[in-house]
Assembly symmetry: C5
Homo-oligomer: 86 residues x 5
């Protein structure tokens, strides 16, 4: 998994039917205690807020996070860190 | 997922039978509000136009986007962003 | 998927039994209209020739391309581009 | 798999129910005998200590390491190296 | 797949039960005919020797190489190249 900070939400009105209802967050990656110039979009199913540091699972594990093995996603926020990492 | 801008279409007359009928778009990745020198080819099943900013699912999740678990693809456009990101 | 140019073939006499009969091509990646210093080996099942620009599917989708969900591969040439990209 | 050194633990009180009980370690990657500026979070199921060099399996194989094909993870520590690598 | 040169073996006495009996090799990646500063650990099931150039399958395909869909690995040596690549 990787660590990142929730940067903001991503709004897509026109998307696949299977994605309706999910909240997409733009997350900035953290490496070695610093925010780096790498971003990804992750589905948020635990209610992470902007500015919080989170754990992100990528790949097929993200679908497991959603409990939907056929969800067309590749990244999900699976935990909020107790302490800031950057 | 990652964010990118649709750069153009990719035409391949000679391809696998399983890919016939799909539209392939060349997408330029966006990092931190800027277009970067990284491209990928994604299947478009939602009708994204050139110049639009989109969300792309990679890996096995792209097959889920197509609703074909055995499609030989690894990237699909799953949503069009309401606002430009770069 | 990514775009690359077929650079040459890769010969491996001593390989897994499951790979016997497949043709392995060394492909040089193309980014933004230029050949870059990144190579990968992809199974060729559509008869791509050296110097041709191709679409490559990576990951589990490559096994779908072969029609063998248990093939020990992670990249396959799935289409030949009509126009050169670099 | 990749090699890394266990840097510390990662605490997340608010996480997915499916992750409760697992120990998450922050691991610093090792390349060519040196610690590099790349980190990842891996589930530890073999009791690796801080400062130990470990083997990490990423992707769907990490779920196999946990013996839970539906665990929402993408990295797991699968072995502790007998000798330091950096 | 990627090409690399077998650099040495990796010894891990304390590892997951599912990995006992497998031989882990440290492989240095080759790009464009040169050894580069990128390493990975791959399971060797074909008897590759140190200094040999090999083809490596990564991801879930590595489990297929082992013939064990539930093996906790993500890279396997699947072929030895007839000619040195670097």
């Amino acid at each position: 998994m990787i660590i990142g900070r929730v940067y903001g939400s991503v709004v897509s009105t026109h998307k696949l039917e299977a994605l309706v209802g999910y909240k997409f967050m733009l997350v900035q990656c953290i490496e070695n205690g610093s925010l780096v110039d790498k971003f990804l979009v992750a589905v948020d199913i635990i209610g992470a807020g902007i500015g919080e540091d989170v754990i992100i699972t990528r790949g097929s594990g993200a679908r497991m996070a959603l409990g939907k093995p056929d969800a067309p996603v590749d990244a999900a926020i699976v935990g909020i860190l107790d302490e800031k990492q950057a």
